[in-house]
């Protein structure tokens, strides 16, 4: 297990470094951030002064060398735009994104798995077909359009929910979160559903396919023959066996929900990290872009690791295989 962990860690470090080099060079190639940040009326001398202060007057390899040196000391650099530590600018936005992604994940599981199992157990009924038709809509309607329609219906026409923003927040473990008060929750409902719809459709399909497959298996027939109740067959034998693909996919999807909820965050003006990334790209705020992507790589590695651990809980074969390998 330790060797496995070390190998994983080494791989992720390599991924982080490769990504940092790519992004660094890429952002450098787009243009000079000072041209975007500085007031056009500034003189040439002032422009050069600002570039010098940000270290942008040096050659690329030197800039990277300085950056990398600071990185090894845990310094992610200062944002060109905000003049503050790039990592702290990102971490300020992290709680908003995390709670939205987790809320969306819960919605996707709580609604997606049961609906998928129902559709799998009764594939030829109206209910089953209706669920599948619904999931096609969830897949194929563009995310931003869904978001705008939800705003139009629930915020503009009906006036039940706010059109965007984060609403009131509560202090929780040193972070400001929305889910602990009514106003904050109200603001979270629409963006969370918007973010969850696609994943929900995905979970429904996976759960349905899994259920149909598992229902054919010998152990289900055996369980039935043993006289187990339908309830027990579905909730223990079926559910446990369809969870492995669902967990794999949701693990990956959670990463992408955290990292790239950009569309939802933009449409609902949700002050999360995705919006920060887009703003930073538009302003060529290189320290923030690089630090952000490093954080995301780290998150993906972490989530994948947790998924692996969950496997061994869900599937005894994985545990046995690991023990065998040792």
């Amino acid at each position: 297990m330790v060797a496995y962990l070390l190998r994983r860690l080494g791989q992720s470090l390599l991924a982080v470094i490769a990504m940092a080099v790519l992004v660094f060079v890429g952002v450098y190639a787009i243009g000079n951030p000072v041209d975007i940040l500085i007031n056009p009326e500034a003189t040439e001398r002032q422009r050069l002064e600002v570039m010098e202060r940000m270290g942008l007057d040096r050659p690329l390899w030197e800039q990277f060398w300085v950056y990398f040196g600071n990185l090894l000391q845990g310094d992610f650099g200062r944002s060109f735009v905000y003049g503050e530590s790039a990592m702290s600018v990102i971490l300020q936005r992290l709680p908003a994104t995390m709670e939205l992604a987790l809320f969306a994940l819960v919605l996707a599981i709580v609604f997606g798995v049961p609906l998928g199992v129902i559709a799998g157990l009764k594939p030829d009924t109206y209910t089953g077909r209706g669920i599948m038709a619904g999931s096609i809509l969830g897949f194929s309607l563009p995310n931003f359009w869904q978001g705008l329609m939800m705003i139009l219906i629930f915020a503009v026409f009906l006036g039940w929910l706010p059109a965007g923003g984060r609403g009131q927040t509560t202090e929780f473990l040193g972070m400001r979160v929305s889910f602990l008060n009514a106003d904050g929750l109200k603001h979270m409902i629409l963006p969370a559903i918007n973010l969850a719809l696609f994943k929900m459709a995905l979970v429904i399909r996976l759960a349905r396919a899994g259920t149909r497959e598992v229902m054919m298996q010998d152990y289900i027939k055996f369980a039935r023959a043993k006289g187990l109740s339908h309830r027990r067959v579905v909730f223990v034998h079926v559910l446990k066996n369809i969870m492995i693909p669902v967990v794999t996919i949701l693990g990956l999807e959670l990463g992408s929900m955290i990292a790239f909820a950009v569309v939802t965050e933009t449409v609902f003006a949700w002050p999360g990290m995705g919006k920060l990334l887009i703003d930073s790209i538009n302003r060529l705020d290189r320290p923030v872009i690089v630090a952000y992507l490093m954080l995301i790589v780290f998150l993906f590695v972490l989530i994948n690791f947790l998924v692996d651990l969950l496997y061994s809980v869900l599937d005894p074969r994985v545990r046995l295989a690991q023990r065998g390998a040792q």
Partner: protein, 536 residues
């Protein structure tokens, strides 16, 4: 947000809208911003959103009204004693929001601090570099000496707010020196201003909270020296996506938004909302490379754009009225200069450049280009209002008179890199005159490139005409307003007659407000919550 009426559900959509939006929360004004200020520090980032926010909390010595004409701020009077000396009389009895008295020391401290702001991406030194000496005659009189005549000093003093010397940690005695002040102490970092206890100014509002990306709260400053502002509290939220901004307005989440998209304006107005729009100081222009031959975006070894007749032909072949009507839906004003009248230095009688494709073809033939030529028009597609579509329209109009035009549209960050690298023979861009007078666009876009004189910084067309340069340099050293305006008018006339640059139109800046609210459109495009009033 009060949205309790269950009847609203059964009413038609627009009636429901009017009900919800009409309820402007008792004394709180909520604003949806198109772009977010990057800091509360008034001297950190010289950019529209930051400056607009700063106007709520900090007051400059000299204020600008909606048309960018100067009016008293913390100074009640300013006069030039001679060409290089100014006397500035400060307002008496003004206190900061923490109760401290405002004196000349705060002004000296502010001017001293501006070059010391750490990491400023766009420093305000642009506006203080003319100041060579700054002394307090008494607590409410300042004597400013400048390095050579500086007629724009009052305009420059109107660009930055005054901060409290004591709160920032200055010593009791602050003295100005061109190469460094004494008594300044440790200049505070910009991030400190994000703390309400540190952002102390003399403006109509005080900072309540600043949560980046989420919201900005301002509360009324009870110590404000001017008329008491109408709103107890102003909440600003960054809603950078225009669809989200309009939805928030229609849903009643906010009472006012910046820059509603042109295509939505009719609908917003139809729902009973108020639209406020007015001329901005921003001109949209096309620059034509006159530097080298050959030039990158035109085939062949010559550069036809060096011929004024070709430039005139390209200027005349643009149908500005059609662009105004069909693309801008009326929200622009066809231009004949680089700044709209009646701003300082404009020629009020000069009409917009007419549309005359026949004359354009004649001019091209006279210049030896009967068969036209092929050209690339560079343009950003996310910076100015409808910038991409305008360039497409111009390309079609040029093609019609025989100049085959291809559009190269890019996101602004990529566009500006190409533009500053002289990779375009023709490009569309915009210029906002921060000082609100003609020397700003002429000096930056038309004057010969000369870093030593700080001229031609954005003259990427590399136009060069010593006649214009001389007039401009003279104007920049003429303190007498009447004479300076005459010189600027003359310089502008020459630039326009020789088609040094091709203006298209002035943008109209637009705000949308909940029914019952009014806002006077500002040429500097600032959104000032303190200037929003109830219609009654």
């Amino acid at each position: 947000m009060p949205r309790t009426s269950s009847k609203a559900l059964f009413l038609s959509a627009s009636a429901a809208l009017a009900l919800t939006a009409g309820a402007v929360g008792a004394d709180t004004l909520r604003i949806g911003l198109a772009s977010e200020p990057t800091s509360v520090d008034p001297h950190y980032h010289n950019l529209g959103p930051n400056n607009a926010l700063a106007r709520h909390i900090f007051t400059p010595l000299i204020a600008q009204d909606a048309n960018q004409l100067l009016e008293p701020g913390l100074a009640t009077e300013w006069e030039a004693i001679d060409d290089t000396t100014w006397r500035i009389t400060l307002r008496e009895g003004v206190t900061f929001s923490n109760g401290d008295a405002f004196t000349a020391r705060d002004v000296i401290y502010t001017v001293c601090r501006i070059p010391l702001v750490p990491d400023a991406p766009s420093p305000f030194t642009l506006y203080t570099r003319a100041i060579a000496g700054l002394e307090a005659e008494d607590d409410h009189t300042l004597i400013v000496t400048t390095d050579g005549p500086a007629p724009l000093l009052p305009n420059q003093l109107s660009t930055f707010g005054i901060i409290s010397a004591s709160v920032s940690g200055a010593e009791d005695e602050v003295t100005f020196g061109m190469d460094g002040c004494t008594g300044v102490g440790d200049a505070p970092a910009s991030a400190e201003f994000n703390d309400p206890n540190f952002a102390i100014g003399t403006g109509p509002y005080t900072l309540g909270a600043y949560i980046r990306g989420e919201e900005l709260r301002l509360s009324r400053n009870e110590n404000f020296f001017g008329d008491a502002p109408q709103w107890d509290e102003i909440v600003m939220r960054p809603l950078t996506n225009s669809g989200a901004r309009v939805a928030a307005l229609l849903a009643g989440d906010v009472h006012m938004i910046e820059n509603p998209p042109t295509q939505d304006i009719a609908r917003i107005e139809g729902d009973g909302f108020t639209i406020s729009s007015g001329l901005s100081n921003r001109v949209i222009y096309i620059a034509l490379d006159q530097g080298d031959a050959p030039t990158p975006g035109i085939d062949g070894d010559t550069n036809p754009l060096q011929d004024a007749r070709v430039r005139e032909a390209l200027a005349l072949s643009i149908d500005r009225e059609a662009i105004r009507e069909r693309l801008m839906l009326g929200l622009s004003e066809p231009a004949g200069e680089l700044l709209p009248a009646p701003m300082f230095g404009t020629n009020p009688d000069r009409p917009a450049i007419p549309y005359n494709p026949d004359r354009a073809r004649e001019l091209l033939a006279e210049a030896g280009y009967e068969d036209g030529f092929w050209i690339v028009l560079g343009t950003p597609n996310d910076r100015y209002i409808n910038d991409g579509p305008i360039s497409q329209a111009v390309a079609q109009m040029w093609t019609q008179v025989g100049v085959q035009t291809e559009v190269d549209a890019k996101t602004f960050s990529a566009f500006i890199a190409d533009r500053n690298g002289f990779n375009f023979s023709a490009f569309l861009a915009g210029w906002g005159a921060g000082t609100g007078e003609m020397s700003s666009p002429l000096g930056a876009l038309v004057a010969t490139r000369d870093p030593d004189r700080s001229l031609g910084g954005t003259n990427l067309a590399r136009h060069s005409n010593t006649e214009i340069d001389d007039l401009l340099v003279e104007a920049l050293q003429t303190v007498d307003d009447g004479e300076r305006e005459r010189l600027l008018r003359e310089a502008s006339t020459i630039a326009m007659d020789t088609f040094a640059i091709v203006p298209i139109h002035y943008e109209l800046t637009t705000w949308a407000l909940a029914p019952g609210l009014e806002y006077e459109a500002r040429a500097d495009q600032y959104t000032l919550g303190s200037a929003v009033v109830r219609a009654d």
